[in-house]
């Protein structure tokens, strides 16, 4: 289904031979509504619309091969749609390389707000790496949430990946022991599942620093819920200011939230989206593709 803005573009730009401030006004207004409803931050919306306007006004006449090999002009409304997609894809970042399976010790740390999907993503990541030939180790570093350790143990058992837990009631110590354990056994990726925390919670942000000190992460992945609203920018910045972030995992994309928060997070932190989670089952983790998310955000 075409988003209102594209439909508007089709109506306004029918039979028109060139873009103008005038005939772009309505389509851009509709796209604006569409983006605001998709949770894209207002500042991002304005930047985006200006960029699209520039692309359209500055573009050359495009030709394509139509029926019977005749060279035809691409309709203005198609060009408008294309401009929107291209601009959004560029903003979202070209498909970031996924976390590729590789042999050898390394530490991956998952962090983020409460309930975003860290524990389930940890298991999914472990399965992804295991399928790629690795022997990963899951680490139950959430010593706060009731039955969090048990949750990871059950998930680990389901995918037949070892789960390290216990040894201490201190999260950093658990991680330190886990890395040592992995080294002893010659395991590959050590995946740290940490407790959900607020970026403004000093005690828990300190805990994250101590975990990182005890088990220095090679990759830190921020796990974000795709249905987040405008606060996504502040949350992501809050985490990015304390920890170097190497990637984003966007979860619950099997829902119907448009996922505009992803654009805001990307713009605010520059962190590439590495994976998307599209379901609860352990195989529902996919590498990120800008095209898919762009068309979803545009509606």
């Amino acid at each position: 289904t075409l988003t209102r803005g594209f439909r508007e573009a089709r109506d306004r730009l029918r039979g028109v031979t060139s873009f103008s401030e005038d005939n772009l006004a309505e389509p851009l207004r509709e796209i604006r509504m569409s983006l605001l409803e998709a949770d894209v931050d207002l500042t991002e919306v304005r930047t985006f619309l200006d960029a699209v306007k520039q692309r359209c006004l500055g573009s050359e006449v495009a030709l394509r091969t139509g029926k019977r090999g005749k060279r035809q002009r691409v309709s203005l409304s198609d060009r408008f749609t294309k401009a929107c997609y291209e601009e959004l894809c560029q903003l979202l970042g070209a498909d970031a390389e996924e976390v590729a399976p590789r042999r050898g010790a390394r530490t991956l740390m998952l962090l983020g707000l409460q309930g975003t999907g860290k524990t389930s993503s940890a298991a999914k990541l472990a399965l992804h790496l295991k399928k790629g030939g690795e022997r990963p180790l899951l680490v139950a570093a959430d010593v706060h949430r009731p039955a969090a350790i048990e949750q990871l143990r059950v998930l680990g058992a389901e995918i037949e990946v070892e789960v390290f837990h216990g040894g201490s009631s201190d999260a950093a110590e658990v991680c330190r022991l886990a890395v040592a354990h992995a080294a002893e056994r010659g395991l590959d990726s050590v995946i740290l599942d940490t407790a959900g925390r607020l970026q403004i919670d000093e005690n828990l942000m300190d805990e994250l620093d101590r975990i990182a000190e005890a088990a220095p992460p090679d990759l830190s992945l921020l796990v974000c819920d795709a249905m987040m609203g405008r606060e996504a920018v502040n949350v992501a910045r809050g985490f990015a200011e304390r920890r170097r972030l190497d990637g984003l995992v966007l979860t619950k994309l099997d829902g119907d939230s448009r996922g505009g928060a992803a654009l805001a997070i990307r713009q605010a932190t520059g962190v590439p989206i590495r994976f998307i989670s599209v379901g609860e089952a352990p195989d529902r983790l996919e590498p990120f593709q800008a095209e898919g998310l762009a068309s979803r955000i545009l509606g």
Partner: protein, 275 residues
């Protein structure tokens, strides 16, 4: 807004930024922007916005379900919502709240799907000092709810809290499952569930309005629990829900501890929203 002389375009622009940044529904944001524009002067904007927001929230009070017409104990409360929003934690705290009022409470572990969901709820049941009715993992959630209501009737329990598995409204099969759970409860005790609480993560954006619509369609939501309000998100989306779906907020979650669930205070909420 402080120190601004007049409501010029730049000021209105900033107000618009503020409103959209609070996750209000797009329609609600426009409604409030209109209020701001008509306020006349910058220092009257805040109080006008707060007044209008309060009006929107209070319009939902006294909707059916807010004062359960109970034929007698037990009162049955079904807790629903999307994955990770805070349902299980909310159930634990609701149980604790009810106990401070001297009520006899039973919790039903009707999330038979997610890893360690029953174990997690068991910890909360213990913290709140209440009993847990459970089934077998992977079993029928409606059967657990049924058993809990049956047990409550037999033992003269005042309140039954039913925790359910998280589900996204896009999964029709799971929404049907929820409808079935509610229907089975009603068969055991006509009129039940007396309350259906949708637990909403305060960080959620516009999708919250869709959640309210869809969950309402499946099980008739009577109230919202706004969880994680101790974070930086303001949960403004409940204004959009109030305007478009007419559901009131009943409780707010302000932390992860046993005492961190309070009754909703609309005035405090709108003050914080437009601080």
């Amino acid at each position: 807004l402080h120190g601004r002389r007049e409501l010029d375009a730049k000021t209105l622009d900033e107000i618009e930024n503020l409103l959209f940044g609070a996750d209000l529904g797009v329609r609600t944001a426009d409604d409030l922007l209109g209020i701001a524009r008509d306020a006349g002067s910058p220092d009257r904007v805040k109080e006008r916005l707060q007044a209008r927001a309060l009006e929107i929230l209070q319009a939902t009070e006294g909707e059916p379900g807010s004062d359960p017409e109970c034929g007698g104990p037990p009162r049955v409360v079904l807790v629903v919502g999307v994955n990770g929003s805070g349902k299980t934690t909310t159930v634990g705290r609701l149980a604790a709240l009810a106990r401070t009022r001297g009520e006899r409470v039973l919790i039903a572990a009707a999330d038979t799907f997610r890893a360690a969901a029953i174990d997690q709820l068991a910890v909360w049941a213990e913290r709140a000092g209440v009993e847990l009715v459970r089934g077998s993992p992977g079993g029928d959630p409606a059967a657990v709810a049924f058993d809990a209501v049956e047990a409550a009737l037999a033992r003269g329990v005042d309140l039954v809290l039913v925790d359910t598995a998280g589900r996204l409204q896009t999964h029709a099969g799971l929404m049907d499952e929820l409808t079935k759970i509610s229907r089975v409860i009603g068969r055991k005790l006509p009129g039940a569930p007396h309350e259906v609480l949708l637990v909403l993560d305060a960080n959620t954006g516009q999708n919250a309005i869709r959640q309210a619509h869809e969950f309402s369609r499946a099980v008739g939501v009577t109230g919202i629990v706004l969880a994680k309000l101790d974070g930086t998100a303001k949960g403004g989306v409940v204004l959009g829900i109030a305007q478009e779906v007419g559901i009131p907020v009943r409780f707010v979650g302000i932390g992860e501890g046993l005492r961190d669930l309070c009754e909703f205070d609309a005035e405090a909420f709108v003050r914080a929203l437009f601080a």
